[in-house]
Structures are given as structure tokens and as C-alpha cells.
Amino acid sequence: MTSNITETKIATKSITLIQAINDGMKTVLERDDTTLILGEDVGKNGGVFRATDGLQEIFGDDRVIDTPLSESGIIGTSIGLAVNGFKPIAEIQFMGFIYPAYDQIMTHASRIRMRTMGRFSVPMVIRAPFGAGVRAPEIHSDSAEALFTHMPGIKVVCPATPYDAKGLLISAVEDPDPVLYMEPMHNYRSFREEVPIDYYTVEIGKGIKRTEGEDVTLITWGAMVPLVEKVANQAKENGISCEVIDLRTLYPIDEGLIAESVKKTGRAVIIHEAPRTGGLGNDIVSIINDTSFLYLKAPIERVTGFDVPVPFSSLESHYLPTPDRILKGIEKVTNF
């Protein structure tokens, strides 16, 4: 992965994505008394993935709170806390368990600012591990970003690297509005990166170019980023130069970055895990249509999960975009 760290000397440490999330929470809890962590098993257990490991020991069970098994309850009470002076960081244990809380997010968290013309607001972060590929049980592997990018009034971020994980977490907590923070669990421990030990932010709404290229723009996020980078390298060996864009924020999307790249390459492949129909890939097709139509040398390709529920683990490798499928997509747009 390319490092985002500038050349000035800042103290860093080499950590994984999940450690960066943990570090991000520790950083904000230290700095801001109003921040709280709530969720199932986030306290004593430190989270089923250890995302909150050690935090209850430091901040007490009054700030790192084990809740009942009740997603609507977690989000609904967090709304009440947020409206009344606190900044809850609510964990949904897996994104597939966010559905019982969908109503609270859709009809309240995302609407209260508008309904009251800003008199009340809901500064809260909802953390949710997502994605397939770790042989988890049913419902543990959903990628539900499109259900939230379609929801006016909430921002959606999705870091792919340890650096972005910490920086975006801090930005999400700083944000005055609800932010859904999606964690690619497949990448929780898959690699390390140098991450500043201090407070820093990664701007919400800004994607990043992971690889420079000339022929095709590959647009993706989350757990797909390292995979797509690898495929881009393979493609290079076949003489195709790919530009890899990691969106990082899924709402509001960095349309400028997409347009700039596609105007240069004239070709785009979008890669995501969620089912094809209704997936965020379609929005990106629209963005390209709106901004870069005349530059397009080929129809845009989407390489995505199929229109099927994330399958049982014995089939999940077939469900997820594979290097072969991505390569085929790249070939398709270059050979058009």
C-alpha cells in the first residue's frame, strides 16, 4: 500500500487496521470527555474482534458500555445521548445485524437535524465490520453500504488501510452529523502500516489514488482495495496501466477524483462486494456518465457480488470479485 504519511517527521507505529481503529477510539476518548463507546461485548470482552480491547480498563465501564443485545436499542438510545451532549460511538457487531436498527437510523438519526432546522442534531458514529471472505457464519458477511448511501442525512466512510482507519475514525467523531464507519473485517489484520501515534484526521469526502495509471481507472473501497492493487500490478505485466482509486468515503463521494481519472483514462472498472443490482457501483456509473461521458472509450464495467445473498462459506469465494473477474473486466474495457 502507498503510505499517506508526508515527509515531515512524525512519530508513528506499525499497526494493523483493527489496531488503528482501537487507537483511534483511544485517542478520541482521551481527548473528548463526551465520547462514549456502546455496543454488544465492547466492554469486558473488548469486542468480538478486539476493536475495543483494553478501552474499558482505561476509561471505565461508564464510558465503554456493554449494552443489552438490542440493535435498535443501541442506536435509539445513542440518538438520545447524542442529542443531549454526548458523542456515542455505537458498535454494531456485524453489518448484517444493523437491519433491526435501520428504522432508527433512517427515520431519526439521519433526519433530526433537518426536521428541527438544526436545533437538534445527532453527532454519532456507527461502527460496523462488513464484508465476506473470512468464512464467517450466515449474515455475518453482508456489505450494506448502498442502504446507507441512499439515506439522506448520514455520511458513510470505509477505510481500507490502517492510516485511513484511524484518521477517518477521528474525522467521523469530529463530524457534527451521523457517520456510518464501515470496517473491512477481511483486512483487520492482513497487513500493517506506519500510523501516527497522535491525533490526525483524514478528510471525509475525499478519495485517494492508490496507484497511478493511464489506461483504465479501477474504482473500489474497503477490503477490495489491496486485491485491486494486486490485480493492477498483474495487469501492468500484461501491458495495461491501471489507476486505482480508493473512495474511502462512500457518501458524499469524491466525484472530482473519479472524473479527473476517467477523463484521463477513458475507461473505468468498478469493483465492489455487494450485489450488483442496487450496488454503489451504479452510482459511480452515473457519476461518470454525468461528468465524463465524452471521454469514455468503452462502456463502464462493474465487477461485483452477484444478485444473491452472501452465500455460505463454501461458496463465498465464488461470490466475491476474484482477480480473474477483475482482469476480465479490465480486458473488456481495454479491448472494446
Binding site: T77, M117, G118, G153
Partner: protein
Amino acid sequence: MVESFPMKKVIDEQGNLVTASDRDLIDQELVQTAYYHMYRIRTFDKKAKSLQRQGRIGTYPPFEGQEAAQVGSALALGEDDWLFPTYRDHGAMLTFGANMTRTFLYWNGRLEGCIPPDGKRIFPAAVPIATQILHATGASWAEKRKGTKNIAIAYFGDGATSEGDFHEGLNFASVFQTPTIFFNQNNGYAISVPFERQMNSSTIAQKGVAYEIPSVRVDGNDFFAVFFEMQKAVNRARSGKGPTLIEAVTWRTGAHTTADDPTKYRPEGLGQDVVDPILRFERFMKNEGFWNDDFAVNIHKEVENEIEAAVKEMESYPKANVEDLFDHVFAELPNQLVNQKDSYLQLLRGK
């Protein structure tokens, strides 16, 4: 179960004290304040219905018959407490300090209608049933965390008890011992569905047993019964003793909303034996020497003037501002919305 949760009553249908010694708890100020608010919100409610019939506001859900429950509960709150109402609790909101003009604006489809007066902690009415129960739990939990003595009240109906959020809210409040009052107005119906088909339990109060939340069943048409039980619950909450569930048994005199036709589902004559809570209170006032024609005439006039002024203000309110469609979704407009807003405003200006 009815035996475990006997209905608390202070005055009977004829306005007589059920227990003579309760007289000591009642003074002129309380009586006049209660009467004033009940009369005021009743008059507001009538006006709203009539405005709706004339097409001057949109669909409206009347609360006629529930005035004792709404005023009795709201008057027991303190200045800094939180109130989480439903669409039918504008009576409680007005009593607690909501602005009348804005209340009319709300029913006229205006965002401005959701904004409470400065400093007033009144949430906009929850339309999705039972959702506000969790917000009240969370907001009062926040007060507890801050170490204040403030509390929150969640209003909800009998139908609301069937939703999962009712259950999750009471469980959270019980586990975290939040200073929350769950104030149920059991008005007999959820639109067309009667209490007996909404649940197979004889009371709503007994639902507190599931969470070991102290529960009480009161005659919701008896202002004093509501007010005194609320006071107890408020005190308990303020002193760190956690949540209370109050079932106020009342009756929706009219339709569910102005778009509803209760003759479709409500047996003729049903509820006609329910004594109107304001009439009942007037009887009490007369019985106990609190009635005073001058006082009544004065507040009737005062209320009339207030309401006329509010309607006028509502109707002369500046037109809804298109920019408000975009400007309050986020603290700061993201690019996408900037573009959508700009191009729409341009189109509008172009005409």
C-alpha cells in the same frame, strides 16, 4: 393482573374526592393552573379541527378526551426536563411550553413547527410509533451521566406497546436505571384496533413486570390521579431510583385523525359513558368551592385571544423557503447537495 395494578383515582366521575384526605394535597393554584391548561388545549384542539375542515391546515390528530392525561403529566415536569411526544401530544407540549404558532405550523407542513422555544427541551413529535421511547431513554441517560437531576418523559399510546422499540427502550432504562418516565395514554384504540386485539393482557402497567420497572395504572381522565402519580415518578427518577411506567387509562373522544372515520370500527355508543375529563374537573371545582365565574370567563377570553393570534401569525408566516429543503440535512452541505440545490434554484429563478 387488574388486581395487581388497581386504577388510581383521586376524584370520581362526579368530581367528588375518593379519599377525603387527598383534599390537603390540592390548592387553588394547582386547580386553576390545571383548569387553565386543560381548557386551553381543548380550545386549541377544537380550533385545529376546524382549521383542518376549512383546508387551512393538513390532516390533524385530535386529542380531545385526553386533556387530563396530557396536562396532568406535563405539569409535573420541571423546566429542564425533556419531553418526547407523539403526534397526539401537542396538548402536553403546549402545557410544557411549546409555542402555539409553531404547533399550528407543524400541522401546516412546516419545518418550523418542530422547533421548541429556546431552552425548551421538547423533541418534535415522533411519527414512527414507539421510536421516541428509546430517545427519551437515551436523553435521560445523558442527564444521569451529567449528574443533573433532570429527567425525560416519553409519551406513547396503547398501540405503541406492540412495537419492539417499546420493549428495547424499557429494557435499556431498566438495565441502566435511567431517569425516564414512560407515560402511556391508553386511549382504547390504535386507529381502528381496540386494546383487546392489540394485546391479550388486561393492563399495560403489568408490562413493567418484565423489566422490574415500577408501574402504576391511573385513571387518565382524573387530572389529580395523573398529576400525583407523575409527581411520585418524577421524584423517584430525580433521586436516582430509575424509571417508572405509567398507564393512564383514557379515551379518544373523536377520530384517530381528521382523515379517519371511527364509525367504521367503533361500536355505536361505545365510550359514551366516559365522563369528559374537563367536565369532571369542573364538577370537582364546583363541589369543592374552586369554581369562580370570573376566573373562567377571563381565561376563556385569554385563551381565545391567544389562539386567534397564533392562527393569524401562522397564516401570515413567510412562505416556506425552498433553501430549507437542502440546508439542514447536514451541518455543512456536501458537494452533491450543493449541486442539486444550485441547479434547482437556477431553474426556479429561470422562470
